[in-house]
Structure formats: structure tokens, C-alpha cells
Symmetry: C2
Subunit: 220 residues, 2 copies
């Protein structure tokens, strides 16, 4: 057992070093970047497409899509006119800093203001790997249930903002928002959160305002 | 890089050996066991509770609940009167054979006909670890979207049955069932599937019939 621990630490540390380099690359290019994490199907791509639609005139945005397989998400982004790179992890359960680094040369970084990285759909593993973005954003979704903060504490603890998506489904599912937010508050006191619906567009104004503020105010 | 591969193979092989022992333990006790996998919030616990409600008079059932943290699911099972053990992985993204082995002594195995193991909510990692059950069952859920087979092929490829849950939400979300099933068929031709709603009970009869058939027909 004792032999295993140093190996794991070494891997994490190498990843963190490259994550720091990625952040330097982004700063040098004047790009603010966020890492979006969520369960499968919580609405990561839909949120990105809606965000692009609302920001298009104000801010130049690019996207890196992470999936085990397929280019479904990148195809949607490209169809919307967003500069995009698809990373296929080939079965890997999260993005890492090297994957992000390797994706950079395929994007016109210097002409972008904002880069959104969509991580692999997974509420566990992505929380353990820095990739080198400025902020981590988690998307929760109403039909996935109100107990997720209690069951996936690592993910909820490590993020800088929370989007609560699919609020249009609230009338059709059992979701106790007080219980949910109580769990969030225990793990991540004062976490900035935004209740939205990608379907109806409800709630996007506050998210967009926050995001624009982040992009304009970040350390370049 | 070359040094890493033997280590990984060794770990998988040790896990598989214990998984085989687990299956022998279950066979010796006359218990048929299934491993339920799904995204967070797809309805694993709800399916288990509904299944228990419908089987209670016919079949003696026990449950092992796997979560990163909390005993929320085990509490629900216990409240319903199901013999249950909660495994907390402490951040680990899947159950493994050792965890299952360690849980066995806490259940009255010889008095059970059916053991349902609820894996950690994750569409990636659990697919790579045998735990030692007879069958693997995947729960997909309508609001998580119709593109999941294409994006998580490893999970869809490795299961023996598929439950499609939350069909009551079909009128409120965009879900192309033909596109979804086409993806399933490519990865896992002829896969047995059951469309259900834990909320309304719709579709449970076919699932229960299949399950009873499995329990009665398995190699003891």
C-alpha cells in the first residue's frame, strides 16, 4: 500500500503544474475561462449554447467540449457559430490539464474573451482534477433530485458558482429547494447560484451579468 | 509510461478475482444479485423501492447502497423494511468487489432470494469494475437526454438490461426515443429494455416479470 501513495501524488502534482501553465497561457492571451461540470444530461451544452446566444454581440466566446466519445456537443456548438474543439477522452471519466493544453492550439485564443470548457458528465472525478481555468461552475438539474449536495459533497465543495437548470420541470417532479440549498450552504457557504431554464430562457439574465462581470474584471 | 500498465492490470485482475468469489458466495447462499448503475438522480433508489413494494410478497430482497457519502438511500430502504447495508466510498467513483465482499456479512444472505446493489451514480467508472453480481442493469432517465448511449458507450455496451425511467416527463422534455434506441441497438444489440415511471408505476409489470424470471431461473 505504501508504494501506491507517492505515485498518485506525483500524477496529481504533474497535472497541477500543467494546469498552472494553462492558466498562464490564458492570461497571456487575455482569455477568461470557466470549467463547467455536471451530471450527464444536466444541460451543460444547452447552457453553453444559450450563453453564446445572449453574449454573442458583447463578448467573443470559444468552447472546448469534453466527452468520452462522439462529437455531438461540438457539432452543436459549431452549428451555432462558436469556435470549438472536441476532446474525446476515449473512456476517461474527466478532463485533465494535458488534454486542455493540447486543445489550445486548435482555438484562436488571442481573439477570444471567454473560453468555456465543458467537462465530462460526471459528478465525481472532474472535481479532483484542476485543468487550469479561472473558475469552476457546477450545473445541477431539477429532475436529478434535491439530495445531490449530500451525496456528491466533493463536487459541491469545490465550485465558484452554481447553475440550477431545468426549473421549468419543477411542477412535475418532487424537488425541495430549501433542502437542496441547505446542503449547498453547508458545503460551500455563500455560493453564488442561478436558477435557470435553458428551455424557456428564464433566469439567464443574472447568470449572464455575473459572467460578463467576471470576464471584464479578471486578472489579465 | 511502460511501468504503469502492469500495475493497472494487476489491480483489475485482483478485483476480478474477488468479484468471482463474491458470485460464488451468492450462489452458495442461493441469492440472485443485480448491479444497478446510472447517472446521479436517474432513479436508482426509487426503482429499488418500487421493485420491493411489488415483490415483497413473492421474493425476499435485500439491498446494498453505494454512495460517496451520506446514508440517505439506505435510510429510505430501511424505512421501507428492506434489509440494507450502506457503503460509503469516501469519494470513490464506483463500487468494487472488495467493498461488496465487506458488505456481505452485514446482510442475512441465506434468507434472501434477491440482492440489489445500487452503484455510485456515475455513467463512466462503474462500467469498468466487476463487483460479482449475476447481471448488470442500467437505468437511463428521460430528462437526461436521448444522446447518452452515443456519449457513454462503455456503460451501454456492458449491461444485461436497461430501464428507461421517468417516462411521465416525456411530454415536458425533448427526447427522441427512436434516436436513443438506435444508439442502444448499435452498442448492445437486442438489449432487453423496460420503459417505466417510478412516479406513476407505469411499466413496472414487465420489469418485475423479467426480474422474477431471472431470480427463479438462475444457476444456484
Amino acid at each position: 500500500m505504501t508504494r501506491k501513495i507517492p505515485v498518485v501524488e506525483h500524477i496529481l502534482s504533474a497535472n497541477d503544474q500543467i494546469a498552472d501553465q494553462n492558466l498562464e497561457t490564458l492570461k497571456a492571451a487575455g482569455v477568461f475561462a470557466i470549467n463547467i461540470m455536471a451530471s450527464p444530461g444536466a444541460g451543460k451544452t444547452s447552457t453553453i449554447l444559450k450563453t453564446f446566444e445572449l453574449l454573442e454581440d458583447k463578448i467573443k466566446m470559444g468552447v472546448i467540449e469534453g466527452d468520452l466519445a462522439s462529437s455531438i456537443d461540438a457539432d452543436k456548438a459549431q452549428a451555432a457559430g462558436i469556435p470549438v474543439v472536441q476532446i474525446n477522452t476515449g473512456g476517461g471519466c474527466h478532463l485533465d490539464a494535458v488534454m486542455l493544453k493540447d486543445a489550445f492550439p486548435n482555438l484562436p485564443l488571442v481573439s477570444l474573451d471567454l473560453l468555456i470548457v465543458e467537462n465530462v458528465g460526471n459528478l465525481v472525478c472532474p472535481a479532483n482534477f484542476k485543468i487550469g481555468t479561472h473558475k469552476n461552475v457546477l450545473i445541477a438539474s431539477i429532475p436529478e433530485g434535491d439530495d445531490k449536495p449530500y451525496k456528491y459533497p466533493g463536487m459541491y465543495r469545490g465550485v465558484d458558482a452554481l447553475i440550477i437548470n431545468k426549473i421549468d420541470l419543477m411542477p412535475y417532479v418532487d424537488f425541495d429547494i430549501e433542502y437542496f440549498l441547505k446542503g449547498v450552504e453547508i458545503l460551500n457557504p455563500g455560493l453564488q447560484s442561478f436558477s435557470v431554464s435553458c428551455k424557456t430562457g428564464e433566469g439567464f439574465e443574472a447568470w449572464i451579468n455575473w459572467l460578463v462581470e467576471q470576464v471584464k474584471g479578471h486578472d489579465r
